[in-house]
């Protein structure tokens, strides 16, 4: 698009005096703002509506999760760990139990492994659907979120049935899952997956190829590969810029090694590519969930967790467990001194790294694009501030 400056801008250059000089305006987006999904704060410097500088200011929701990990035993840690990214509680729990099981040298029953994989994928669907609804809403399309929430309710019903929770499932335990899957649950989960797959095109047809949506997202907020590498951006955002990296395929955990994980990538790196990646990932996750369901049906009956001692002490050592969370790489660096609490557990959350890159992306865009970019960075404030 060619851009021509007319009016006061062009005149001001010709005059060159101070009379017509304009002053930049500092605009604080947040910490309370409808499109920051919580309390992220962006300090924008504006020339008219054009952004000249952007600084993400984080920490308004800092709860000291890492420090709290050090004074809780391993069962209690799970409760804390599933809270930072409240849209993917199950995936957050996974990293912790994998790290602890690794240090304990504990083998998890095969049914638990498959059930965990299934629930992780359902959780991914839930998280992605949230953003598939909220992103169009930020661009002014008010309908897709209702479709997205209809699908979320469908999946949430089966998650709720097994765990009792709608957000913070707390279904993982060190050594397996809390309970066995209820009778007939696999069929209900299979039906939920089929329903979501059948109705997903509603969202797609409504918004993905809409002219205005394309105009607002194509070529906006382009993120290149180098910047992604420098800032440690991961997950769907990185894959939308052609970074073909997905832990489920490249460093398989749980049962992903036995599953054909299709990694969705795009090369454009703009807001539209990020939205497309998310949409396609939902389809991939639904397929993976189906594969897990099929496997779970075939598995012979057996335990779904390990008996744990009353006081769970993890032997001295350290390990790093990372998982492909819905929003990107989520890693826990666990250091144990052989006590019943970790000596240190470092949390590497996806959104924290992903959001830092905003200062590179924003300048040069308009305030309206700011919302398009911010929404397409798919973050959860709890995941940034921990």
């Amino acid at each position: 698009m060619t851009e021509r400056i007319v009016g006061i801008g062009a005149g001001a250059q010709a005059v060159g005096g101070k009379e017509l000089a304009t002053e930049d305006m500092v605009l604080n987006i947040g910490p309370q703002h409808p499109s920051t999904h919580g309390v992220l704060r962006l300090r924008l410097t504006l020339d008219g509506e054009r952004i000249t500088a952007a600084e993400p200011i984080v920490g308004y929701m800092h709860r000291g999760a890492e420090k709290l990990f050090e004074v809780r035993d391993y069962r209690q840690i799970l409760v804390l760990a599933n809270r930072h990214d409240w849209l993917s509680a199950f995936a957050n729990e996974l990293g912790v139990v994998i790290a602890v099981e690794r240090l304990l040298g504990m083998e998890v029953p095969v049914r638990a492994v498959w059930a965990r994989t299934l629930l992780a994928e359902l959780n991914r669907v839930l998280s992605h659907l949230m953003f598939l609804g909220s992103y169009p809403l930020e661009l002014g399309a008010i309908t897709p979120i209702f479709y997205a929430f209809r699908e979320r309710e469908t999946v949430q019903a089966v998650m709720e049935e097994i765990s009792g929770g709608r957000m913070h499932y707390m279904f993982n335990r060190v050594g397996g899952l809390k309970d066995d899957l209820p009778a007939g649950w696999l069929d209900r989960a299979g039906k939920a997956v089929a329903d979501v797959r059948r109705r997903l095109p509603d969202i797609e047809n409504l918004i993905l190829a809409n002219e205005i949506f394309l105009a607002r997202t194509k070529g906006v907020g382009v993120l290149d590969r180098d910047t992604i590498m420098q800032y440690g951006v991961s997950g769907p955002i990185a894959r939308a810029s052609g970074v073909d990296f997905d832990l489920r395929r490249d460093e398989p955990y749980l049962a992903y090694g036995e599953l054909p994980v299709k990694v969705v990538t795009r090369t454009a790196g703009d807001c539209h590519a990020r939205f497309e990646v998310l949409l396609d990932q939902v389809k991939v996750s639904l397929d993976l969930a189906d594969a897990c369901l099929a496997r779970l049906r075939e598995l012979p009956p057996g335990p779904i967790n390990q008996r744990l001692p009353k006081v769970l002490k993890v032997p001295e050592g350290h390990t790093y467990a990372w998982t492909e969370n819905p929003l990107g790489l989520n890693g826990y660096y666990l250091v144990s001194r052989g006590e019943k609490t970790p000596w240190r557990m470092k949390l590497r959350s996806a959104s924290f790294n992903n959001i830092q890159v905003l200062r590179e992306m924003m300048p040069g865009h308009l305030v309206a694009d700011m919302v398009a970019i911010l929404g397409s960075m798919f973050f959860v404030v709890g995941d940034i501030d921990k």
Partner: protein, 317 residues
């Protein structure tokens, strides 16, 4: 005496329409939007399918504290909602709903309508400036930028109709209307309606309000009854836009079987339904994209319509 009474009745009817129609359209929006989004919408207020929801909202707004920010330019801030609302009331006075059924038959009705509607946007700019809030200021700026883009296509499209009818009087235009004007003035109809949506700041052209970007634009700092007046202005705007489109392009009261005023109302509500439908299905444009749409799309189309009208007029005359 009879004349005074006649005038009084007309004015009372206009004020009544002005108070009732926007509420009806607002309620329709609640319900239509809800059903398009697989929800129910208001169900409780008033009993039957939440028919009294907007009345309840109005009562609530009236009870709220009317806050004026310390940094605001108080006088401008206070009168801005009125400036936004009153023009639509005035416009309603010259819109004919049936043969002879018009508040005031001005022979320059079209000019009058366009001039008065142009005032409405000032309310938004005034609110944006006087609120002493950066988001409001951005919203006001966007309103002003939007004004530049839709006003010209709006005027060009209406002048095509005036040319076709050979009069500027609104009842005159409806009387001159024939069914084949529909295809003849189709481009003008589309241009007028789209530019009108931009004038009303309705989605997909609601950038001045854009709640996900600049909170509520010029209305950010408004509370209570003043905020309600802004909302009323928006829905009154829908009534006026739909009524004007009906009168100028859809033949007003013309229609078979049913009496004229009923036809006018049917057409108005059909158009209002489209306004709501568009809101449900489209995202929001960006300010510069609207300007591009206006100058690259609407203005040339309106000029083309003007040329077509001129040619047809010359050959049929």
């Amino acid at each position: 005496m009879a004349e005074v009474l006649d005038l009084a009745i007309r004015l009372i009817l206009i004020v009544a329409a002005f108070l009732v129609l926007p509420l009806v359209i607002g309620q329709t929006e609640h319900k239509v939007m809800a059903h398009m989004q697989s929800r129910l919408g208001p169900m409780y207020a008033g009993g039957f399918h939440g028919w009294a929801q907007l009345i309840a909202d109005g009562v609530k707004f009236m009870q709220k504290e009317d806050v004026i920010p310390a940094a605001a330019d108080r006088r401008i801030f206070a009168i801005a909602p009125a400036v936004a609302l009153v023009p639509y009331l005035v416009v309603l006075a010259v819109i004919p709903v049936g043969p002879g059924l018009v508040g005031a038959d001005l022979n320059v009705g079209l000019f009058f309508v366009l001039a008065v509607m142009g005032v409405g946007v000032l309310g938004s700019i005034m609110a944006g400036w006087s609120s002493g809030n950066k988001f409001s200021l951005l919203g006001g700026m966007r309103s002003a930028a939007q004004l530049v883009s839709y006003e010209l296509p709006l005027v060009l499209a209406t002048s095509s109709v005036a040319m076709a009818a050979g009069t500027l009087s609104l009842p005159g235009i409806v009387e001159a209307w024939e069914w084949w004007w529909l295809p003849w003035q189709a481009i003008g109809l589309a241009v007028f309606f789209i530019a009108g949506l931009a004038e009303l700041r309705r989605p997909p052209f609601d950038m001045p309000i854009a709640e996900s970007e600049i909170i509520m634009g010029p209305m950010t700092e408004y509370t209570g009854i003043r905020f309600a007046l802004f909302m009323l202005a928006e829905y009154a705007g829908i009534v006026v836009l739909s009524a004007l489109t009906t009168v100028l392009f859809l033949g007003g009261w013309h229609g078979p079987v049913l009496p004229g005023p009923v036809w006018t109302l049917i057409k108005v509500f059909a158009l209002a339904f489209i306004v709501i439908w568009v809101r449900v299905s489209y995202p929001r444009l960006r300010e510069d994209q609207l300007q591009k749409l206006a100058w690259v799309g609407l203005v040339p189309l309106a000029l083309l319509q003007l040329a077509i009208t001129g040619v047809v007029r010359v050959f049929t005359a």
